[in-house]
Subunit: 343 residues, 2 copies
């Protein structure tokens, strides 16, 4: 890329190619950089300090006619809290930078603040600083979150082991279904109001797995962990690549909600529904690998502590960094691009 | 503001009013939040962890026809490094989030990266993570920087004491002059090329006072410190308010460069030049208060260590949070708004 002609545009590059352009800077010993949900470095009292940052841009990540101000405030912080939870950590402060066009109403900003601070107060995460500026056209929201974790509880994407099972903390696909309903409301008019509302809420107001992440972090038999933000298959691929393992995902075992199944029945088969659940992003469930010998105990303890099941959806096999999707035990291809544009 | 009608717009609020809207969240003990250049919390090995974040938006903070890609990359990091230096700290990592319109050229992005990473390498500050995303229209750059500082070396805006002198580490006004030249090139055609280039460079490629900040942090007699980003008078006002002190600034003692004096001679008097230097922002010199009994020693040591003088430009008096500007010892009013629009 050093010789790229000046006529080549950013639109010719993937996000990963852009990140690679910057990732040449060396990462110091004791600090993990680009690659995990958070960067980690030495923190206070022998703890690891976690930091993560996310950028949300109007008309790229959200549209003001699809998400209300309270939910947007909630979501901007929730996705960052989820990054800390995915490392086994506890969030302990955040920074907020906002670029706002002058014609945004004060009322909108107050409601945005309410959604954000309600979530911050729920988990006792103080606002530590930030920046506010004018924008010519679009709203931009940058949240940087800090967390701490005991080094023994830190879970990285690189820690999966052959022999591990792959689990998720809850159902998949609701968020992408909610997004599709918001984008094409007329297409899904036959859905019940109850189902429609649930799916939209799961897209607009995701619930980060805060306590689950902290507890899973404390379990020695849990190895790699990540939150499902890009989509199950993308995120599993991060673990496969960074752990140098092959990972098999049983599509027919993906947990789905009744609302999501109702959504999919409008135009697809059961298999298509699970394929959509496997590629749709923004579920913010946690996905982790756990030693097979301990999965039964872990499931029991998780159910006792959180009153809900863990879902065993696959396994880690040999040292070969790729993923395989199965249906009834046989390999099937999932066209990720096609399913991204399912509707 | 709780009852503001939905018709009121953000454009009716100052940046400080917007920040106040969010600053209700409580700051935990041991962490300093909104108010200083950085937030500080307990860090590794008894050190304080500093964090600061800044947001730069195209056509608000920079224009692509006025700053080249290398300089923009340099400046985006430099202003954050300056925040860490202003607390007496040492930068030890940064995060970069970019929102880029698809039509930005790859060549531009590579040059932006070069400007950024050259500065990062100069001060050995690794890139720890970040986020890259598409933008519909404008480039947005969010940098979050981390630093560490010994608690004994931490300098806050609230630490000025009656009896202190006020000093700056270098000349003021060059940056605002460079900005005005870029905005109205025809108006300043009589400037020499040498002067013109120097002023523009000081605006586009500011040099953070990294070593000066660290050294000043280690001097017990240095009390409050801040970097001059908003403009001398604005930044002195932050110290006056947070230290609950009256601060007198002698306008006739502000240090100016020959290039700035040549710039001002085109349309103003000497007094107007100093008034512009007092309100123009983005100088990124450090401003600090120091016990009067030690100022002579400090100036000598500073000159010996850095090969340049410190400038004594004012003093801290009684407990009354306001600033007074003097000319030849007599109070004068500076119309900050008028001088912001000097040209």
């Amino acid at each position: 890329m050093a010789d790229s002609p000046s006529s080549q545009k950013i639109s010719d590059l993937s996000e990963e190619e852009i990140i690679r352009l910057f990732s040449g800077s060396s990462i110091p010993r004791g600090a993990m950089g680009i690659g995990d949900d958070c960067a980690a470095s030495e923190g206070p009292g022998g703890l690891e300090r976690l930091i993560s940052t996310d950028l949300l841009v109007e008309d790229v990540h959200f549209r003001l006619d699809s998400i209300n101000a309270e939910d947007l405030g909630h979501k901007a912080l929730a996705v960052n809290i989820s990054d800390i939870a995915a490392m086994g950590g506890t969030s302990d402060g955040y920074f907020l930078s906002l670029a706002l066009p002058g014609m945004v109403s004060i009322n909108w900003l107050q409601r945005f603040r309410n959604g954000l601070t309600d979530l911050a107060q729920k988990y006792d995460i103080p606002l530590l600083g930030g920046d506010t500026t004018r924008s010519e056209s679009h709203i931009m929201i940058s949240v940087t979150i800090m967390g701490i974790v005991n080094p023994d509880s830190l879970k990285l994407r690189s820690m999966a082991e052959p022999g591990d099972r792959i689990c998720v903390t809850g159902p998949l696909g609701d968020s992408v279904a909610g997004l599709k309903i918001l984008s094409h409301p007329h297409k899904y008019q036959s859905l019940s109001d109850n189902h429609r509302k649930k799916l939209i809420q799961r897209h607009c107001k995701p619930d980060p797995a805060v306590y689950e992440g902290k507890w899973l972090g404390q379990q020695d038999e849990v190895h790699a962990m990540i939150d499902i933000s890009d989509g199950l298959l993308s995120d599993v691929r991060h673990i496969a690549e960074q752990s140098d393992c092959k990972i098999e995902i049983a599509l027919d075992r993906l947990p789905l909600t009744p609302a999501f199944e109702a959504f999919c029945s409008i135009e697809g088969t059961d298999k298509q529904a699970r394929e959509l659940a496997a590629v749709g992003g923004e579920d913010y469930q946690l996905l982790f690998s756990v030693a097979e010998s301990h999965i039964s105990d872990l499931k029991d303890q998780f159910r006792e502590k959180f009153g809900k099941p863990l879902y065993d959806i696959g396994k880690v096999t040999k040292r070969e960094p790729r993923i395989v999707t199965l249906w009834d035990g046989s390999p099937v291809e999932v066209n990720e691009q096609k399913f991204k544009h399912f509707s």
